[in-house]
């Protein structure tokens, strides 16, 4: 079992910032991520509000720079690696990756961020990329002059709908409430577009692939009437969820709030000694790149203080 002074789970801005601080303080640091480095920032087209950059920087470049900076100070990385087992309750904690290798440390920082929520409905995952999409920028043009559904009524659903309206023939929003949660100015732009219809107080219940099209089973939440409607595609934008599910694979050790966000104090300590949390996975008011890197720095400085 390889031992590090600090293991960071999650290679987004919070995790990478913590790695920069800890590795620079000569704390041997391992960063693990089940995907790649950068987190949500790496997939952000342009970042215009990150201090120090007069012109917007691409999220990919910003994330890549953070990783390079962490590497320059000696941080080790295990990317595209799945946590298959772990124990955080003892003083020396360990994590197993891909059922192959174990790494141990006295300190673990969880910085796994948040991800777009799936509806977890029948047929959803199976049809991803074949009629079901989560990104208007990526897949909008496949639906030129087509009829589509958008599921969701928050800011991301409505902003993505605005983009989709440049391509599609009609756009029908399926929304569980009787008004949109998105900012009014954007919501009005969408609602006033003649291509748009809304199924208020409706929820999708399942998806069936018909080759070139998708049949969506929909329930009217007021009457409980169920209908099936066919469209060329479905775009789903229903918010974010914390990437904390892997912590539920055993008796709960780390305190979470009712939405699954990890609860910490101001020092980023969780209720489990030696386990910290930072970034979007943590319960907090604002989720921005700068708040994530602040969390990461605070956690790392606390751990550096305790190890020295």
């Amino acid at each position: 079992m390889k031992k590090f002074d600090l293991i960071i789970v999650g290679a987004g801005p919070a995790g990478l910032t913590a790695a920069i601080y800890s590795a620079r303080a000569n704390i041997s640091t391992l960063v693990i991520d089940q995907s790649t480095s950068g987190g949500q920032v790496a997939t952000t087209h342009s970042v215009a509000n990150y201090p120090g950059f007069v012109e917007p920087i691409t999220g990919y470049e910003l994330a890549l720079n953070m990783k390079k900076q962490a590497e320059r100070f000696g941080t080790k990385f295990e990317l595209a690696a799945e946590i298959t087992d772990y124990c955080f309750k003892d003083e020396i904690k360990w994590i197993e990756l891909d059922e192959e290798e174990r790494f141990s440390s006295n300190y673990v920082l969880i910085a796994t961020g948040a991800s777009p929520r799936l509806l977890n409905l029948p047929g959803e995952v199976k049809n991803k990329g074949n009629g079901i999409s989560y990104c208007a920028t990526c897949d909008g043009e496949f639906y030129k002059d087509k009829d589509i559904f958008v599921i969701g009524g928050g800011n991301s659903a409505i902003e993505e709908s605005l983009l989709l309206l440049k391509f599609v023939k009609t756009l029908t929003i399926i929304h569980q409430f009787d008004k949109l949660q998105a900012e009014k100015i954007t919501a009005d732009k969408v609602l006033n577009n003649p291509k748009v219809k809304v199924l208020w107080s409706h929820e999708a219940r399942g998806f069936i692939n018909k080759g070139e099209s998708i049949v969506v089973e929909i329930e009217n939440l007021k009457t409980n009437e169920k209908i099936s409607m066919e469209r060329d595609g479905v775009f789903i934008f229903v918010g974010m969820v914390p990437n904390s599910k892997f912590l539920l694979s055993r008796p709960v050790e780390i305190k979470q709030n009712k939405y699954g966000y990890l609860v910490t104090n101001e020092r980023m300590e969780t209720n489990v000694k030696g386990v910290y949390a930072a970034g979007d996975v943590r319960e907090k008011l604002f989720r921005q790149i700068v708040t994530a890197i602040s969390d990461g720095a605070v956690a790392a400085l606390e751990i550096v203080k305790k190890t020295s």
Partner: protein, 114 residues
Amino acid sequence: MHLNTNLKHIKSKEEHKELIAKNEKAVVCCGRMGPMCVPVYGIMEALREKHPDIAFTDMLFDIRDAEVIRDLPECRQFRGLPFTIYYRNGKVLKATSSIQSAKDMKAIIQEVFA
């Protein structure tokens, strides 16, 4: 637009032909720098270190020569970027549409290249 990744970029039909002719095992991820594509490139970069026998490459979806991917029968119904194609001895063994997790990609590699 260009692909700002550390993978080898396939820029023409000829390069694509050479790739699958010279490498028994090859993967081409055809996409853009969007939120569904970037994680797949990153996972491929990480997997490249663990599988030196597999040629992991990318190709910009919008160049004309990317029709060698776009027009594959396996991609006919794809409506989500990126298109990721797994080749063995020049033949398509698997093709996926949209974002994939590292777990999914490892399972495919195990399935098609074992």
